[in-house]
Symmetry: C2
C-alpha cells in the first residue's frame, strides 16, 4: 500500500469571503463567476472596497485534499505559503484536517506575502474570484519531493498552477517521480480563462501524462475549441483514460473505456458556489482509491459538491461519509 | 449633534472559530462557556490541537460597535492591534462596517502580535473562549483621543479591558473627556471571572461614572456578591441610572428611575452563542441614541442577540433594521 492515496499540488491561499451585489462587481470591474489574477496593488484597493469579510483556508487543490482528508483518505499537499500569519492559518487548517503538509515556507523577508483570493459571493450564490498569488506563484522543481510523489497512488495537479514560470517544470518532476513508481496522474483544468492562457501546455500534458481529467463544461469546450459539448467530451475521451466532467445543475459526466455514466446533481440551496468542483474531485478520487466503481465515484462527487455549496467557504463542514451513506453510496 | 452616537473602547482581536465536543474541552483543560486568558505558548499549543478553523474579526466592544454601525449608527472604536495581517483584517472589517477606527498600530517589531481569541463552539452552541491578548493588552492613556471622546454621546467601555496595567488610566481619561462635554458612560461587566478579578475597580467606576450598566445574570450576582439575582438587580439599580441585564432564555431586564421592564428572548436555534451580549448592547445603544423608549431598546437588543447566535461568528449577517421592523419595533 502506498503511503498516500492522493498528493495534490496547487496554489496555496487563504480565501477572503464577502458578499456583494452585481452592481458592486460591475463598479469594481470584476468578471462574474471566474477567477481573475490581480496584483498586490489591486488586492489592497479591492480589499478596501469590500464589506466585512471572513478568512478561510482555500486554494483549489488544497480544498480537494482537505475533502479527501475529511473522508479519512491518506493525503499530502504541496503549495507555497510564506512564514506569515495567513501562511500559518493555511498550514494549520490542512494539517488539522489530517493532510500531510511539509511546505518550505517562504521566508519572512520574501517580497510577496501568502497568496489570498478575494471571493465575492453574489446573492445568487455565484462566486467571483480575485486572486493575488503571492509566494504561491513561485512553486518550483526544488519544492517537489520525488519520494512523496513516488509514494502516491495518484497525484492531483491544479491547472491554475500553470500560471507560474517554474511550475511547469515542477509538474514534470512530480509526474516523472509518480509515474516512475506506478502512480497515476490527474489534472483539473480549473477555469476556462486558465485554459485560454495555457491551452498548448495543457494539451501536451493531457496527451502524454494525464490518466484522469477533471473539468467542467466550459473548460472542456475551451480546451477543445468547440461550441459543442459532446464534441469536446468525445475528443477528451480519446486522449485520456478517465474523464470526469461536471455540468452544474446537470450533474456530472464520467467517460472511460468507451463507457459513459451520468451522475445527477443533488438539489440544494446555493449559498456559495466556491469549491464545488474541488470537492467533486476530492470525493471522486477518494471513491476511486477506495475501490468504488466510476459511476459511484461520480455520484459521491455530486454529493460532496452539494454539501460545499450549501454554506459559505470551500471546505466541507458536514460529515461526508454520513452523506454518502444517506445517498446509498456506501 | 455630536459626531458619534457611541465610541467603544475594548480588546481588539480576531476570533479563531472552530467546533469541538465537550471531551475536547476537558482534555484541553478549557473552562466551558467562559473567557480564559492564555499566553502565546498556550495559544500556539491550543491552535495545534484544534481542527480546521475560520478567522473572523471579534472583540467584545468591537462587535458592539460593528452592530451599531451595521444599523447605520455613527460610531468609532478604540483598541490596539499590530501592523500585521490579523491587525489589517481587524481594521478592515470595522471600517468596512462603517465605523471610524483610527488606531495607532503597534509597530511591526512589537514583541506581541495582534490579539486573537480561540473560540471553541460545542454542539450545544455554547462558546468557550481562550484569549491571547497580544498588543491589545497595552492600551494606554496616549491611545485615547480626548476630542473623539468629547464628540461622543455615549462611550462604551469593555470590562475585559480592565485586564491591562494602563487601561484603567485610559478609561479614566476617556470618561473625563466624555463627561466634560455632556456625554454619558456605559460599561459592560463582560464576564463573571473578569468581575472577580476587578471587582473593586468596577465598583468604583460604577458608583462614580457609569450611567448605563450592561451585564448578564451571573456577572451581576458576582458583582454584588449575592446568590440572589433580585438582590443584585436592586443593588445595581441604586447605583446606576440605567441597568440592562441579559438573562439567557429569559430575555433581558431593564431598570431605570424606579421602573422595570422585561424584554422577552427571541427563540432561535443556537449555532454559536458568541456575541449575544455584545449585539444586545449594540442594539440597545442604537435604540437609545435614536430616541426609542428603554423597553423598546431592550427588545431590540434581544432581536439582535438572537440574530447573532443563529450563525457562526459574533457580528450580524442579516439586516437588523429589517428584523426590528418585522418585530414591530420600528
Amino acid at each position: 500500500m502506498k503511503k498516500f492515496q492522493v498528493v495534490g499540488i496547487g496554489n496555496a491561499m487563504v480565501d477572503v469571503l464577502t458578499r456583494a451585489d452585481e452592481e458592486f462587481l460591475s463598479e469594481a470591474g470584476i468578471g462574474k463567476g471566474i477567477m481573475q489574477l490581480i496584483d498586490m496593488d489591486r488586492a489592497v484597493d479591492l480589499y478596501s472596497r469590500i464589506g466585512p469579510a471572513r478568512e478561510v483556508s482555500g486554494g483549489s487543490a488544497a480544498n480537494t485534499i482537505a475533502g479527501i482528508a475529511a473522508l479519512g483518505g491518506r493525503t499530502a499537499y504541496v503549495g507555497k505559503v510564506k512564514d506569515d500569519q495567513l501562511g500559518a492559518i493555511f498550514a494549520h487548517d490542512l494539517r488539522a484536517q489530517g493532510a500531510v503538509y511539509e511546505t518550505s515556507f517562504a521566508p519572512k523577508d520574501a517580497a510577496q506575502e501568502t497568496g489570498r483570493c478575494i471571493v465575492i459571493v453574489t446573492p445568487d450564490g455565484e462566486r467571483s474570484m480575485n486572486t493575488y498569488l503571492g509566494v504561491t506563484e513561485f512553486l518550483q522543481p526544488s519544492d517537489i519531493d520525488p519520494k512523496m510523489m513516488a509514494d502516491a497512488e495518484w497525484i492531483y495537479l491544479e491547472g491554475y498552477r500553470f500560471d507560474g514560470p517554474d511550475s511547469h517544470a515542477a509538474f514534470a518532476k512530480a509526474i516523472n517521480a509518480c509515474k516512475g513508481h506506478g502512480g497515476r496522474v490527474s489534472l483539473t483544468l480549473s477555469d476556462p480563462f486558465c485554459v485560454e492562457r495555457h491551452r498548448d501546455a495543457f494539451r501536451l500534458m493531457i496527451r502524454e501524462d494525464v490518466d484522469l481529467l477533471f473539468s467542467n463544461r466550459a473548460e472542456l469546450m475551451s480546451m477543445y475549441r468547440t461550441e459543442d459539448f459532446e464534441v469536446a467530451l468525445a475528443a477528451a475521451a480519446k486522449e485520456v483514460d478517465i474523464i470526469a466532467c461536471t455540468d452544474s445543475e446537470n450533474g456530472a459526466h464520467i467517460l472511460s473505456g468507451g463507457q459513459r455514466w451520468h451522475a445527477p446533481a443533488i438539489p440544494t440551496q446555493i449559498e456559495d458556489a466556491t469549491g464545488a468542483g474541488d470537492l467533486f474531485a476530492g470525493a471522486f478520487l477518494w471513491g476511486m482509491t477506495n475501490g468504488h466503481a466510476l459511476d459511484v465515484c461520480g455520484r459521491m462527487g455530486c454529493v460532496a459538491a452539494s454539501e460545499v455549496i450549501s454554506h459559505l467557504g470551500a471546505r466541507p463542514e458536514k460529515d461526508l461519509l454520513a452523506l454518502f451513506a444517506r445517498h446509498g453510496l456506501l
